[in-house]
């Protein structure tokens, strides 16, 4: 059996900007309520068009769990590592807080955690994955913006979505090969 390759596919057109995902993430992962301490976010994109023909999209995002992760390459102590299933994680006990990963991340997905005294980021809720559950942000979303699944499973919902609609990655020119895809 193939090792799973976890991925998240996001359909931003479904996002209501309710921010339930950000709240779920904070509760699930005990992320402190501080200005810079957040693992996921929902950006309100600029208004498009002119009144009365207006449109606004919301872009939920987080660590892109890159296959070519710059944060992992610059980490001097191997504190940042990628699991076999493609989840990029931080071993808090190995982090020396040099913050090179924060400078190298093109998505600004990392922050200094006062709780862990290390750099913290989205873990794709790996503790839930090990129990066969989805990440908290995926499970809580009322409109199912995020779909989580295994790219190695041809029958998975993520493969069905990626096979049926155009998709794109954030900052593709960075050649980071993210595991998060956005539907066009």
């Amino acid at each position: 059996m193939l090792q799973p390759r976890y991925a998240i596919v996001l359909d931003t057109r479904k996002c209501l900007n309710c921010k339930a995902c950000t709240v779920a993430c904070k509760f699930e992962n005990d992320v402190p309520v501080e200005d810079e301490a957040y693992r996921i976010w929902v950006t309100e994109m600029p208004l498009q068009g002119r009144f009365p023909h207006l449109h606004q999209e919301f872009q939920p995002s987080q660590c892109q769990h890159c296959e070519n992760a710059p944060c992992e390459k610059v980490c001097p102590t191997r504190a940042t590592f990628t699991t076999e299933s493609g989840v990029v994680l931080v071993d808090y006990d190995k982090c020396i807080l040099c913050k090179a990963c924060m400078v190298a991340c093109p998505y600004d997905a990392r922050f200094v955690s006062l709780k862990h005294k290390a750099v913290e980021k989205c873990t794709m809720c790996i503790h839930r994955l090990l129990e066969g559950r989805e990440p908290a942000c995926v499970e809580t979303c009322p409109t199912k913006v995020r779909v989580f699944g295994d790219l190695n499973d041809p029958e998975s919902e993520v493969n069905r979505l990626l096979g049926s609609r155009n998709s794109y990655h954030l900052k593709p020119h960075q050649n980071t090969r993210p595991r998060l895809s956005y539907l066009g």
């Binding site: 950006t43 102590t77 982090c95």
Partner: protein
């Protein structure tokens, strides 16, 4: 005891001719300020007292670290030219060069030590779990080797009895070589970061080496003027002139590099690089850039060198002093400017804080206090060496 005294006689002296006490006093004051800063960091935590943020994670202490350690490798380069490549005018200053390089490197290490959240963890994890793909690991390795080589050089220059010229030349060459590798690799720490277009590329590995050599020459000019109270003895006049010419040449190369760096960053407006360039030219760092980087580190010292035709040691000393002041802005600006363009636009909900599309950073008082610690260590140790060691080559 008498034997030991005899052996140390040629090293130790009480040199009251050198005006070392005011600088030891100044260094002492800076050290006290720095130690208070250290206590604040350890009692309140780095995050509580440093001005760095999620958007700008590297600040003043990375700049001051670069400022000091790159100056040290610049000194080692000049020392290597003297020992290994037969530049007699530099070889004449060898003891001062080695002592200065060693102490400047130590002072630089205090800055990175206080910047890192877990400096002690670093020490064993670099051995137990090094990531050899990471430029920071090589930075640690090369600067540690440089410190070791400078330590051996210190032993060689102060050991009793004659030292084989070949041995000195060998270690002088090693210090030069490892110094260049260490500094260019420090440039690679920034140059490898694809996410920050202003950093990315080969510019900084080259620029840091060149500006570091100029810094080494500038520091030697300043120190000799202080030691000889602006009346540098005749036998060192040609050394001062050679340092002046080296500075002038280096500043010329720096201007050349600046021109193309800004041309590349402005032409067709590459995302990330153009915002950083404008942050320097007309944005929040403009005063630093025009007054500090351009005025003090390039134009004024070059003018002074040209006007005195690299001939007047006192004017060259002034050029060195002005350059070292300006170079601080150069180091600070490049670290900060590269991080000001945010990785995500500061729209509502993004969590990113921007003003006019740029992130912000201002060093905190405690960061300045830690910088004072590095300067204090430099002043105290170096001028104690001037006072009590025989630094005449």
């Amino acid at each position: 005891m008498t034997v030991l005294k005899g052996k140390l006689q040629h090293i130790i002296r009480d040199n009251r001719e050198v005006p070392s006490l005011p600088f030891i006093g100044l260094g002492g004051l800076l050290l006290i300020v720095g130690m208070i800063g250290v206590l604040l960091v350890f009692s309140k935590g780095h995050e509580a007292v440093y001005g760095v943020s999620r958007e700008v994670p590297w600040g003043l202490l990375i700049a001051s670290y670069a400022y000091l350690v790159i100056t040290s490798t610049g000194l080692a380069f000049i020392g290597g030219l003297g020992h290994a490549f037969g530049f007699a005018s530099f070889a004449k200053m060898n003891r001062r060069i080695v002592v200065l390089a060693f102490i400047t490197l130590l002072a630089g290490f205090t800055q990175i030590g206080m910047e890192l959240g877990h400096p002690f963890r670093l020490m064993y994890l670099f051995l137990l779990s090094p990531q050899f793909k990471a430029p920071i690991v090589w930075m640690g390795i090369f600067y540690s080797i440089e410190l070791l080589i400078l330590g051996v050089e210190l032993y060689l220059i102060f050991k009793p009895g004659p030292t084989s010229h070949r041995l000195s030349a060998f270690f002088g060459f090693l210090a030069l070589l490892v110094g260049i590798i260490a500094t260019s690799n420090l440039g690679f720490v920034f140059g490898s970061i694809n996410a920050r277009p202003f950093f990315h590329g080969i510019y900084f590995p080259i620029f840091l080496v060149v500006s570091g050599i100029v810094a080494g020459a500038a520091l030697l000019l300043v120190i000799h003027n202080i030691v000889f109270k602006f009346r540098i003895e005749e036998k060192l006049t040609d050394s001062m002139q050679a340092l002046g010419r080296l500075m002038g040449l280096g500043i010329g190369v720096m201007i050349f590099l600046y021109v193309w760096k800004f041309a590349v960053s402005l032409y067709v407006e590459p995302e990330g690089a153009v915002q950083a360039a404008y942050a320097l030219l007309s944005g929040p760092l403009a005063a630093h850039f025009w007054i500090g980087e351009v005025g003090l580190a390039l134009v004024l010292p070059l003018l002074l060198i040209i006007l005195c035709r690299a001939g007047n040691s006192m004017v060259l000393g002034l050029a060195g002093l002005v350059y070292l002041l300006g170079l601080f802005f150069t180091r600070y600006d490049f670290i900060v400017a590269g991080q000001l363009p945010p990785m995500r636009q500061g729209f509502e909900g993004s969590g990113v804080h921007t003003v006019n599309g740029l992130a912000g950073y201002a060093p905190s008082p405690v960061e300045w206090m830690i910088f004072a610690l590095g300067l204090g260590i430099f002043f105290v140790l170096y001028f104690l060496a001037e006072r009590f060691l025989n630094l005449e080559t």
